[in-house]
Amino acid sequence: MKRFVLLFIVLLTGYAQAQLTNITISKGVDNPTRIAVVPFNYSGPKLAEDIPEIIRNDLNFSGQFESISVDKMISYPQSEAEIRYRDWKMINAEYLLIGGITLQSGRYIATYELFDVAQQKRVLIKNSVEGSDAQLRDMAHRISDKVYETITGIRGIFSTKIVYVEAFQKPAKYRLMLSDVDGARSRALLESKQPILSPVWSADGTRIAYVSFETNDPFIYVQNIATGRREQVTNFKGSLNGAPAFSPDGQKLALVLSKDGNPEIYVLDLATRVFTRVTNHFAIDTEPSWTADGSGIFFTSDRAASKAQIYKVTLATGQTERVTFDGEYNARGRVSPDGKSLIVVNRREGDTYHIAALDLKSGNLRVLTETNLDESPSIAPNGAMLMYATSSGGKGILAAVSLDARTKVKLPSKQGDVREPAWSPFF
């Protein structure tokens, strides 16, 4: 019965064709923090990656920083002694990052130091990261994370990854892609002639689950990212098998099956392989997602006059309450890491579909996006940004927005329609 249809699995290492390119900031905060990342001191054969440039792009991506371009810099200090603060005040830099790279026994070591320009003082003692030549990008992202966290107090997400679906037409082809959060180093985890949807990460970042139609019917698969090994975990023919969501402890998978007559939420214990039914209503119940402590599940249901709204069920008691009231349509709720907000796909009367944040305490709903036909929001593990799918120029693209809606970023792709981003946890 279990068919490991490995025919369609292609693990492509290296750079795949359809990368997310040219991240464009549509809107940043009103007063982004201006930072100068000076070219690092290095003498040696040309490096495969430009570490300072990756750092500049990372900080720009957050929308909270504006990286000063190299051609605006008046001097290029390589040590604290070489810093002339007036050069940096003149170009309105608030922070200055300098660094150097050396090669020692086949390993690269990058050191970096951060300074506050107005106060003319050091903010970070000399830190270092090291890695092999294949890890230069990782080293750059670690530096970005440290700089971001030092200045904002929030943990950086530059070392995280995303999984997304890429779709092509004529002939129809679908790929499940993994890449760095900036779109680099993308590779296909699965390739198929049939649709792939609903990718999600486990909380420890080692596995993903997704729905694949590769056998002609939709079933749920769990795949180990590092090894590529995967397992089909549902096999209900003639039923929906969809919307998987790992529990916070990684031991269970909430999912949707319609085998008992109509779409209901079930929880699959991954160890015992026992399915436990959670909802019991003749309406559509779908899109489960867990509360942070694993005690409850948010889900979409059209039980209220056939209009999709979000509900929450407490697993121990079965008690269910409606959570969304603003708008004609609310679906696909995901709770923020701090547990305070529920990110939803919302449609108000007369408007189109947007991503919105519901304050779970006050019930106040804030629409975050201005793009059209927005769907599939995925929150960054630091809770500061979210990525979602939208349409631009007739093509599916990914976009990102900060939770306070002040930063808007677009990530267009070279080929195909890109959608269903799933932001990894911290590793």
């Binding site: 129809a172 939709p218 949707v256 979409t300 349509y329 036909l373």
Partner: protein, 157 residues
Amino acid sequence: MITKAMKQGLTFAVVMAFLVGCSSSDSKKKPAPAPAPAPVVEKVEAPVVKQIANVVYFEFDKYDLTPESRAVLLAHAEKLKASSVAVRLEGHADERGSREYNMALGEKRAKAVRDFLVLQGVKAASLETVSYGEERPVALGHDEASWSQNRRVEVKY
């Protein structure tokens, strides 16, 4: 392929004309008691028409069958009762809204078609249902012209 589509369209029109001809709900009632003319349809095609449209369409966010859909499905029901062929009913939705909710909507549509066919006497065991949600659109535009083509159930023999 174009020829086949034209045949389907003509067949659909024929079925529709037959239905409309038989319909008695005409809002502009004429006072003259002239008998209803016999449907012109009789003379057009000689043998039993074998080609039926293989798609039925739905209104936005709805899964109930329109009169047009029923007509098409009635023809399928006759065909299915006559033979013991198995059929796969594939439900779809347009792109608006979340993907998994659209999977559920596509399934509701496929099941609505299945339930209608079963009511007409088709064996339930010969009917398989599956939903593709919004994943396999036939029309790729972002407007009602495309969306209306995507809200459908396909009858696959």
